[in-house]
């Protein structure tokens, strides 16, 4: 009797696999008596320099998991359990967090990390262990180049740098730009590199490039140097923690330029740190709550009901990444690493931040939005397609 039951279960599983179009899976898992929970790890920094990023990512993931579990889980009733390791916004803690998730918690897949530098520290560990890693927000191209188990849910730095260069050249109509680059951040250097390429290719000139470190607090000397070159725009691809003081000190130094940035600007803390100096700036982002698609509206309502705040792009991408992973597990019909990897690579997914298919480097092809900062608020400006 028992054998018969399990045979029926196996047949249903195989059938469901065939129906979802993912028949490349050789063996279906043995059906458990009670549906076993699926452990998913995440490495989001809920303390440290980019704590608001980590918290938003965690919120987005938790919301998605809750919704998925309430709707019956994955693989026919198995629940997703999230284990978050806080890497304290530190690169060295990230490697430890990945090790722990893989060896101690034995997770099936890892969501994270947030910053590109952190993901780059964790990716080789996930790759070596054959555990699929899906970073919601690491935009540096090198992250997915680590190996075929590494994916991301966001567009990459070249695209973001190009979008801002194109925006400066075409929408703002300027031809001179200065760049302030955080030298100990892969994210900042990546954006700057591609901004320069696209800006110069479009006929613009980079009149100054100044470096600083993420621990610096005095930017007055490099800002004086920037001021001396009289640029029309200043590109500051960094996270809000350093962008805030830079904008404030730029205001004190009377720099008459439009400040541009990337998705690292996306935090309410920016207004707290920069005050009214943030007004008039533009940055590229993954999603805007004002975009008005049904996915965005549903996500907004659910997020606000649970966390009582407007979700930022980090939350949106983490939410998308969680759903993407769940869809991949369902399509793989298994929690085995290679199966999830193959399912992710072949996925076609529509979420809050747009429609995602992966290119051959496991980078999503999707659109970006430009946000303007006006009166201490983020205002949707435009959508830019790849």
């Amino acid at each position: 009797m028992k054998r018969k039951l399990s045979l029926v279960l196996v047949i249903t599983m195989v059938l469901s696999l065939a129906l979802t179009g993912c028949g490349n899976q050789p063996q279906a898992p043995a059906a458990p008596a009670a549906p076993e929970e699926i452990k998913i790890g995440s490495v989001f920094p809920v303390t440290g320099a980019i704590a608001t990023f980590g918290q938003s990512s965690l919120n987005g993931t938790q919301l998605a998991f809750e919704e998925i579990n309430n709707a019956g889980g994955v693989l026919g009733g198995r629940k997703l359990v999230l284990i978050n390791e806080d890497n304290q916004s530190k690169t060295e803690e990230t490697a430890t967090a990945f090790q722990k998730l893989i060896t101690q918690d034995e997770v099936s897949a890892i969501l994270g990390s947030v910053a590109s530098s952190h993901s780059l520290a964790g990716a080789p560990i996930a790759q070596a262990a054959g555990i699929p890693m899906l970073s919601p927000t690491s935009t540096n191209p090198r992250v997915t180049e680590v190996g075929d188990f590494i994916f991301r849910a966001c567009f990459i730095d070249p695209f973001q740098g190009q979008v801002m260069a194109k925006f400066a050249l075409e929408t703002l109509g300027v031809t001179t730009a200065a760049m302030l680059v955080e030298q100990d951040s892969d994210y900042s250097k990546g954006l700057a590199e591609y901004f320069r390429k696209a800006f110069e290719a479009g006929g613009g000139t980079i009149v100054a490039e100044e470096g600083y470190k993420s621990t610096d607090t005095d930017f007055s000397t490099i800002l004086t140097r920037v001021k001396a070159t009289n640029p029309a725009v200043v590109f500051v691809p960094a996270y809000y923690g350093t962008v805030g003081p830079i904008l404030r000190q730029a205001q004190a130094a009377e720099i008459d330029a439009v400040f541009l940035g990337g998705d690292g600007w996306d935090s309410d803390k920016l207004f707290e740190l920069a005050g009214d100096a943030a007004n008039g700036g533009f940055f590229s982002n993954h999603y805007s709550p004002d975009a008005g698609t049904p996915e965005v509206d549903a996500f907004l309502a659910a997020y606000q009901a649970k966390f009582n705040s407007v979700p930022d792009a980090l939350a949106a991408l983490a939410y998308d990444a969680a759903y993407m992973l769940a869809q991949a597990i369902d399509e793989a019909g298994s929690v085995e690493g290679a199966a999830i990897r193959d399912a992710l690579a072949a996925i076609s997914f529509t979420g809050v931040s747009g429609t995602v298919v992966f290119d051959e480097n496991r980078n999503p092809v999707k659109s970006a939005v430009i946000i303007e900062i006006r009166d201490g608020k983020q205002v949707y400006k435009a959508t830019v397609n790849p």
């Binding site: 303390t47 621990t215 005095d218 004086t224 740190l273």
Partner: protein, 298 residues
Amino acid sequence: MTITQQILQQLINGISLGSVYALMALGYTMVYGIIKLINFAHGEVFMIGAFVGFFSITKLDMGFFPAMFTAMIFCAILGVLMERLAYKPLRNAHRVAALMTAVGLSMLFQNLALAHSWIGASAKGFPQVFPLRKFELMENVTISSDRILMLVIAIFLMIALQFIVHKTLMGKAMRAVSLDKDAARLMGINVDKTISFTFALGSSLAAAAGVLFALNYGIVVYQMGLLPGLKAFVAAVLGGIGIIPGAMVGGLLLGVTESAVSAAGGSMFRDAVAFAALIIMLLVKPTGLFGKNVREKV
């Protein structure tokens, strides 16, 4: 901007930064002068001072000056407690023991700040308490009202310190203890009280520096004391550790040097140059710039 304008503007940037280093270096140098201890927790006193100022303004709705005064008093008490609880029991121990205690205290304060729910890890924006006004010294060379305020307060505090050290009885006791602790005790000077007073004075200057720094650079964060603390130590050594005017000059010199390096395009080397200056000074003239000429030590 012409080259002259740039140089002048960068000089202003350097002097502003230097005045913060100078205020902090005074605390290092006074403590060293009196008990031969490099108080590595001094940078954290700076950070705590900045946070006390920050919370006095944001949570208690104080004005800027009362907030700065509160921070100075708070840190003066903190300095005394630090000395009484951590350093005094080690006064006759090996000097390395006291030094390691100082390093430990520094980490303790940083981590307490990190763990405290009011402070935490993320940076906070210091409120723009005064409307931003700028004064044009010449075309393209400006100084903001906040910077003028910082310089004026720094100079005022340094003059006040000179007055305390040279014109008051307590100052005389400080100088005596720094010259010879045992002889001073024989002369009826309360050595413990004098050392406590020195810590209070140095810590309150660090607190003032912290609040001024936060006002000008717009940020308070738990690790803000680390680098300025080390730089102030370099400044104290540059000027000649234990010598008060040396700390002031060393601080300004270091601030201007750092800005000059950055202004010449070496913004990534500013910290390296600051610490290279320390090594060179120790090799060439270990007693510091003022090491020989001024014998008076506090």
